[in-house]
Symmetry: C2
Subunit: 238 residues, 2 copies
């Protein structure tokens, strides 16, 4: 089965959480919006704006599998998990994995909103003082709560994976979270890392997996930038 | 099977989306944190703070079913849906329903953040100008986008339900969204309603269903207030 992934072509964003799962599994997939010309980004917007579609996505990323179009990152991963062998087989395990992934989803919104607290419809430059204020509290209250929680879950499960005895998609997502926070908040993150040794080690193990390692070195990996979820602004880094 | 629902005892919040599903189905459930004394709210915090738990919830709401503890609103509803006959039976239908519910989840965060754009760790009074600014853009850009999307999905599906040919849990959640927006932004909502006739009619049909109607008139229904997701502040209502 060939998977078609649709996401903004120039930012890692939420699409990267799906891409990491496809890459780790060695799945046969095509990154549609990154193809050039009319088969690239216009193809993505064509699906979103298709007024005749019975089940239109609200926003990217979405995955096309035959006639099925699946949107919402956690929903895509829930679908892919068992098929890519990146999820437990039992229902209770899959619910627990989904629960953790939805907590990652919540965290991603809060990370994004550090630089856009007033609204995604405004430029960062139009909400800079508010972004400084939100970032300060975010690092004081929210990062310790979220990462402390995942660190605890990881430790309770033996320290190697968050769920079960094999790698799952939430391990890959947490790799991306750690990687992105290091990019966006290098100083703050450096101070925090001693408190989350398990997650830091998980990040390094994921990065060293053969397929992920090759992927990260390839042109398919999109670099962090001034756009997307994880953005670096010196004044937000404490 | 008896379900135990755990959520803050005095606000409707995200817990209400689960409660509406349990009520519509006539399920056997107990609202644990609303019981008085040690079996009430302390029981909820005991589970959240249990350091020995292998699969602790990050936050309420969560549902206890035998030994299983399930958190994250959309995850709880995904579990309950087929069991309460509030979801389609086929996988594609369940994924589509979950996708819509996760879009409701995103919308709920944005509704909450109209009054808390800088952070949930601060009082509203400490972020009032920012809340006014965020609310203005939220109503200009985000409400039309979200509710316009759900209106379109409803219409495409025939106008009675969002998914399939029977009531599902996302219909109940949209009832609560419309109800909450009317409470929090009465003036703005009144102006918008003519653009979403399908959702307004859905709200009324849900409210008139025998079990929901009885529930809304009961003491089990928690009123909106100055706390939770939907809060009324005159200055945010345009």
């Amino acid at each position: 089965m060939r998977y078609e992934l649709y996401y903004h072509p120039t930012i890692p964003g939420r699409g990267e959480l799906v891409r990491l799962a496809l890459e780790e599994a060695g799945a046969d997939y095509v990154d549609v919006a990154r193809k050039s010309g009319k088969t690239g980004a216009p193809a993505m917007f064509k699906i979103i704006e298709d007024r005749r579609a019975a089940r239109p996505p609200f926003a990217p990323p979405f995955l096309k599998v035959g006639q099925l179009v699946i949107a919402q990152t956690a929903n895509i991963l829930f679908y892919l998990g068992p098929r890519l062998k990146l999820a437990p087989r039992d229902e209770a395990g899959q619910l627990w994995l989904n629960q953790l992934q939805l907590t990652v989803t919540d965290f991603v919104v809060e990370i994004h909103d550090t630089h856009h607290p007033i609204g995604s419809w405004l430029y960062y430059e139009d909400q800079r003082p508010e972004a400084k204020r939100r970032s300060k509290g975010f690092w004081r209250y929210r990062v310790p709560k979220f990462l402390g929680y995942f660190e605890q879950v990881l430790r309770k499960n033996g320290g190697t994976y968050l769920v079960g005895r094999r790698l799952t998609y939430v391990d890959l997502s947490l790799f991306q979270i750690i990687d992105g926070l290091r990019y966006a908040f290098p100083k703050r993150m450096k101070r925090l890392e001693k408190k989350i040794p398990g997650l830091v080690a998980l990040h390094d193990r994921v990065a060293a997996r053969p397929r992920i390692n090759a992927y990260l070195a390839s042109k398919r990996r999109i670099a962090f930038s001034e756009w997307g979820i994880f953005r670096y602004f010196k004044e937000l880094d404490g």
